[in-house]
Amino acid sequence: MSTNLPEDTGGMLTVALAGLEGQLNEVLKETRRLRARVRALEEENQRLRTLILAAGEGEGGRQQLVRLYNEGYHVCPPHFARVRGNEGCLFCQSFLEKKGLLPDG
């Protein structure tokens, strides 16, 4: 099939596409770097929260669990200290109920 595009326009398109491909590769590289960074920060965050909770163990430990849950973090074993967001968690709720601690939110 023949094309109506002049030869130089075709050439310019090829160059523009190559440039776009290069830029996309850069964006992908940056996304990968950011993903790795986010993962590292998530892990660090979890470690720090575990340390904070461990420091608060004792009489106030149970209340800290409730506080942590109400602040939007998981307290259930599978997701402990991870961000829970606004929605409730079946396992946190069951865990707190079993300990006689009813969550506020």
Binding site: H74, H79, E87, G88, C89, L90, F91, G105
Partner: protein, 374 residues
């Protein structure tokens, strides 16, 4: 390698294995499809190292051998070839010639030795399941699986085999809801219970690949892999290592209110209510309110910038009046997989999980955790 086969058969085979082809290019060999011609059959294999799909079908083998072809171009090319008999022949210069009618196309191949060895089907537990039941179970359970973190156990479906009870269970949860399906296995190789945590993606691929007809699929649970086999098809996937939480403890053992209502009516209402509940405030997005009266169920939703909806549905209600709020999207997704005319909602308290189950069927339920509002 040299084979002859109809284009339609090859397209069908390629489309079956294509979904397991790796999309990244870090290891080029797994972006290909391996073709092995042996004793008048052609076997196609693809894997991304987590999921693997193998499909064998009869062809005319003129010369046995194997080939590794770049998946994308091979699939696209085969799909576009005319519906006629094809000849696939490997040439000396590491290319393959696909001949059809008076034409031919030549594609570069990849070094076959680079393709990973796929694990043999082995495991201590194997049993068979009716295809229709398995597809039904996957459709109903995967709605509750998480999809935020692909590494999480919540992105998996727990498969429990209980030969003593003559039962298998599929369970999934994203921590806000939980779906459980009980099915009956056919023959089982062991009397011991077994569990496997299978990535949700693999379950969906299996459901997609199995035919929509009667028949049995054989499941084998290995140390770190699970295999499903049906006729010429084998699907295997790596299992998640993590531990699935003790889900039984979150299932309510009692309720104070039961609602039986027409599934279609409730679905339509929830669809409208959820459509409206698109609050820009994420915490309130998709939230709908259920008010249970003596003889009717009232559903309301609102969004500050959009409007307000209030619908009242006739229902058979037993128990105490109750009001609760939940994510309408979760209820909608559950209602969409319930096939019975009526659905039952069991409620205990405003913040306790709501149990949704098909009326007259004991093999499935979904829990939805309400949200606190106000």
């Amino acid at each position: 390698m040299h084979i002859l086969c109809p284009q339609a058969h090859l397209v069908n085979a390629v489309q079956k294995v294509y979904r397991a082809v790796a999309t990244t290019t870090t290891y080029p060999a797994i972006t290909g499809i391996l073709l092995q011609a042996h004793e008048n059959t052609l076997t196609l294999k693809a894997t991304d190292l987590d999921l693997g799909i193998i499909y064998t079908f009869p062809v005319e083998v003129i010369e046995e051998g194997e080939l590794l072809l770049p998946a994308r171009i091979f699939t696209e090319m085969v799909r576009r070839l005319p519906p006629t008999s094809l000849s696939l022949k490997s040439l000396e210069d590491n290319t393959v010639e696909i001949a059809y009618q008076q034409s031919k196309v030549q594609l570069n191949s990849i070094d076959v030795s680079q393709f990973p060895l796929l694990p043999p089907v082995e495991g201590n537990f194997s049993f068979s399941v009716a295809i229709t039941a398995l597809k039904d179970a996957i459709r109903k359970v995967t709605i509750a699986a998480g999809n935020d973190d692909l590494r999480s156990v919540f992105n998996g479906v727990l498969w429990e085999l209980e030969p003593g009870e003559n039962r298998f269970n599929l369970v999934a949860t994203d921590t806000h809801r939980l779906a459980v399906y009980h099915g009956q296995p056919g023959d089982s190789s062991s009397n011991e219970t077994a569990t496997a945590l299978v990535p949700c993606r693999a379950m969906n691929e299996l459901a997609r690949l199995l035919p929509g007809e009667d028949g049995l699929v054989k499941i084998t649970i290995g140390e770190s892999q699970i295999y499903a086999q049906h006729e010429g098809l084998t699907v295997y996937t790596r299992l998640f290592n993590g531990k699935f939480p003790h889900y039984q403890q979150v299932i309510p053992t009692e309720h104070i209110c039961t609602i039986e209502i027409a599934t279609r009516d409730l679905l339509d209402t929830v669809e409208r209510a959820t459509l409206l509940a698109r609050d820009e405030n994420k915490a309130r997005a998709h939230i709908i309110i259920l008010q249970v009266g003596e003889k009717s169920l009232k559903i309301t939703s609102e969004a500050a910038e959009i409007g307000h909806l209030e619908e009242e549905l006739t229902a058979e209600i037993a128990g105490q009046p109750l009001e609760l709020a939940l994510n309408g999207r979760y209820l909608l997704e559950t209602l969409r997989v319930i096939d019975t005319e009526n659905v039952i909602l069991e409620l205990l308290a405003p913040l306790k999980p709501v149990v949704v189950r098909p009326a007259g069927q004991e093999n499935y339920f979904c829990l939805i955790l309400p949200v606190r509002i106000g």
